[in-house]
Amino acid sequence: MIRFIDVHKAFGPKRVLDGVSIDVARGEVLFIIGKSGAGKSVLVKHLLGLLAPDAGQILFEGQDVAGFSERDFFPLRKRCTMVLQHSTLFDSMTLLENVALPLRKHQGLSHAASLEAARSKLQLVHMERYADRRPADIGDGLRKRVAIARALTMEPEYVVFDEPTTGLDPISARHVDRLIRRLADETSVTSIVVSHDLASIFGVADRVVMLYQGRVLLDGPPQAFRDSADPVVRQFVNGLPDGPMDI
């Protein structure tokens, strides 16, 4: 179980998180939504030590990671990984080598063994035929699929997806949705998904948390989100340019 307890974070005078508390249960698919700049990515980066909170606790299976050193985070990142917003593949490597990197670094596998193991992960996202290409040779959507494969190489128990369907065509986006759902249903992987994509939210989420002005505005199943009478939630669900939500 993961718990964010009263997390605060500011960048200079800008207060991004102002006491956010969220519990994430094992095996669930939790969507964190909100307008751009609401602090969704900032929040999830705290879990993996990519940012440190100003105040508050982040409990990973009972352990507070807020005070972890960089070295403490390495074992945690084997169990909980993240697909970053940009595909973040390494240009100097082939796609297969990109996917194999965590196996070499986290597990200490040899180059050849890691490549062999990585090939099956590429198959998972239907990218095996591009294995020997370099990131510059393929489009954004395909790069994102490879980044997902790389995140899954360690067979993590928790995966954080930061806008996994942004920039993808609708068909690729639904493939990613299906993969997230399958991970939860078949292997009990817990997914925390940062997203704006309403089709994804209503398609695969078990629970939705909406952040607004640095706090949790709504926490409930997708249906509660759809039926909410809150004017800010209504504006977001209906994608209206005018409303109470500040831009």
Partner: protein, 255 residues
């Protein structure tokens, strides 16, 4: 006054972060296996990027120095035959390693800062951390080892270029016989060691400073640009300061 204090504050922050990166580089050098392929790739990059630059710069510097020294010698003593003997210790101790260091700081330091900085602002460094690859171990360590290997080699090539160019100019301008020019009587073993020690030290310091500048890049392309500028300014300054420190220490030891 405020601007000066800001500048000082930035310099102290940069120096502290560079020390941290340096400490971690040494830690990973001792504790983590070295990716030899990455080291050779970087060594090739460092050599390839700098060799022509170093040869040209030190070649011309050797020519200019011999020309000016020869003119002075002719004016004062009416004889320029010792021009090679007079300039050689200076080239070995000072110009060879230090100009090579400055060239590498400019060519390689900027490259390291730009590459690492771009990886930071595009979250590739975060992806490395997710993959279990500490950024200092993966990005800075191979460049550190490569520069330590390549700086002395480049300095030796630079000194050779300076020697050959100086010999040619001395022959052309003052009719100094090449055999007379190649007079190493004033060169001591200590001069060679001093030059090599300087080259090794610059090789260790330049990638650390440039890597630290890259790792501290923030924002977008503007942040990468600032990191690149910081890398070349700080690394060049470090080369000059270290030249003074090592040169001073060598002088104290000699006397």
């Amino acid at each position: 006054m405020r601007a000066l204090l800001d500048l000082l504050g930035h310099a102290i922050r940069d120096a502290r972060f560079a020390l941290t990166v340096g400490g971690r580089t040494v830690y990973y050098l001792a504790r983590a296996p070295l990716d030899r392929a990455a080291v050779w790739r970087q060594a090739f990059e460092v050599g390839n990027r700098s060799v022509l630059f170093v040869l040209l710069t030190l070649g011309f510097l050797g020519a200019i120095m011999n020309l000016q020294t020869g003119f002075q010698a002719l004016r004062l003593f009416g004889d320029a035959s010792l021009v090679g003997a007079q300039t050689m210790p200076l080239v070995l101790r000072l110009f060879g390693p230090t100009v090579t260091g400055l060239m590498v700081a400019t060519r390689v330091g900027t490259g390291i800062a730009a590459e690492v900085g771009s990886m930071v602002v595009t979250e590739q460094v975060d992806a490395l951390r997710m993959s279990g690859a500490p950024p200092v171990d993966y990005l800075v360590k191979p460049r550190f080892v490569a520069c330590i290997l390549m700086l002395p080699a480049l300095a030796v090539l630079g000194v050779t270029a300076s020697f050959v160019a100086g010999m040619a100019v001395s022959y052309g301008a003052f009719q100094v016989n090449p055999a007379t020019y190649a007079n190493f009587d004033l060169v001591r073993t200590g001069d060679v060691f001093e030059g090599l020690l300087k080259a090794l030290t610059y090789g260790a310091v330049i990638p650390i400073i440039a890597g630290a500048a890259g790792l501290s890049a923030r924002g977008g392309s503007e942040g990468v640009g600032q990191a690149t500028t910081r890398a070349v300014v700080n690394a060049s300054l470090a080369v000059i300061v270290l030249d003074f420190v090592i040169g001073g220490a060598a002088f104290v030891l000699r006397t």
